[in-house]
Symmetry: C2
DNA sequence: TCCAAACCCTTGGATGTCCTAGTATATTGC
DNA sequence: GCAATATACTAGGACATCCAAGGGTTTGGA
């Protein structure tokens, strides 16, 4: 976006919160703001790596999900639930992936309401290549220490469970 | 988005990664995916709280930033840098806030290229109310423990610094 | 002094996300 | 068996983000 700032804007915000008498929530505010910003940075990195493949993160996620499905196909509503995005977002992604011949829609054999999304051969190949690139360029260079990764997984896992994402354990 | 899943989809993804021989990056992948999802959940909560005020998070952030500026006014490029978003995003937010009479554009006194954004009285009032609501409904109920908050601030702060957000310290 | 390079903001386009319907198909209950 | 309810997908609209490009303003070196 530009040159680095001389000071951490989120730390500044936290100080402002404290200065205005909201010290009791200043720290969570800073943590939440940091999560938002971190997501933005990570998403930008991911999109940069995926761009040469003609993929966006949303489309990649769908391809990756399908590549792990036993039959390489999933109902759209299942994909929506697993990716935790709105059904219309899946429709959007499938439209574009279908145009690129990476997935194909097919009617569900027994339920006329349901549409199955199926990975094409090219889709499977591209998913594999894109995953290798992401593993090498993003996940393998996250910059988080192993302990921090474990901590993030645990803390954010609890948060997501409490938020109603899943009922596991 | 819907009913909770029976199992954590991110933990499943991590297992899939390991099963496919990418065990060395499975954990960072899971941590990064969890950050993306957590951001989505938090953003939804924030937008829900801000909706009654006619604000989105992007617009709120700009109002809050201006409310902390000594003069209540900032150049657009400054706001862009501090919020860490693209200049066009600021243009967009200012357009809408200006239509709502919450901010006003004014020419910079000495630099003809620059436009100042200034908080109106209504803008300042609304910022205060919206902040109180966010503090009560989101930041005050984050669900993160105090230790976890500190850890998140530290780990994500390091990440953001390494990513080039700022040069502090 | 003067023109090229740098900088600032805006417009237009591509994507993604969500919400609110609307259409079609299944399921349920009487 | 049929009507009422629930479920699945899609169309259209509102917003946000980024990139690329264009027009105006400053700055800096020849």
């Amino acid at each position: 976006m530009g040159t680095p700032l001389p000071r951490d804007p989120i730390a500044d915000a936290q100080r402002n919160w404290e200065r205005h008498g909201w010290g009791d929530v200043a720290a969570p505010m800073a943590a939440i703001t940091a999560i938002m910003r971190t997501q933005q940075i990570l998403l930008a990195r991911i999109e940069t790596v995926l761009k040469p493949f003609g993929l966006t993160f949303a489309r990649y996620e769908l391809l990756a999900l399908l590549s792990f499905a036993r039959s390489g196909a999933l109902p759209m509503n299942k994909a929506s639930a697993l990716l935790q995005v709105h059904p219309t977002s899946v429709t959007n992604a499938v439209d574009r992936l279908e145009k690129a011949a990476l997935v194909a829609r097919s009617p569900h054999p027994t339920d006329g309401r349901t549409t199955l999304i199926e990975l094409t051969a090219e889709g499977r190949t591209l998913a594999k290549k894109a995953t290798a690139a992401l593993n090498a360029e993003v996940f393998g260079k996250s910059g988080f220490g192993a302990d921090d990764v474990d901590h993030l997984i645990r803390v954010l896992g609890t948060f997501r469970r409490d938020a109603g994402d899943f009922t596991d354990e």
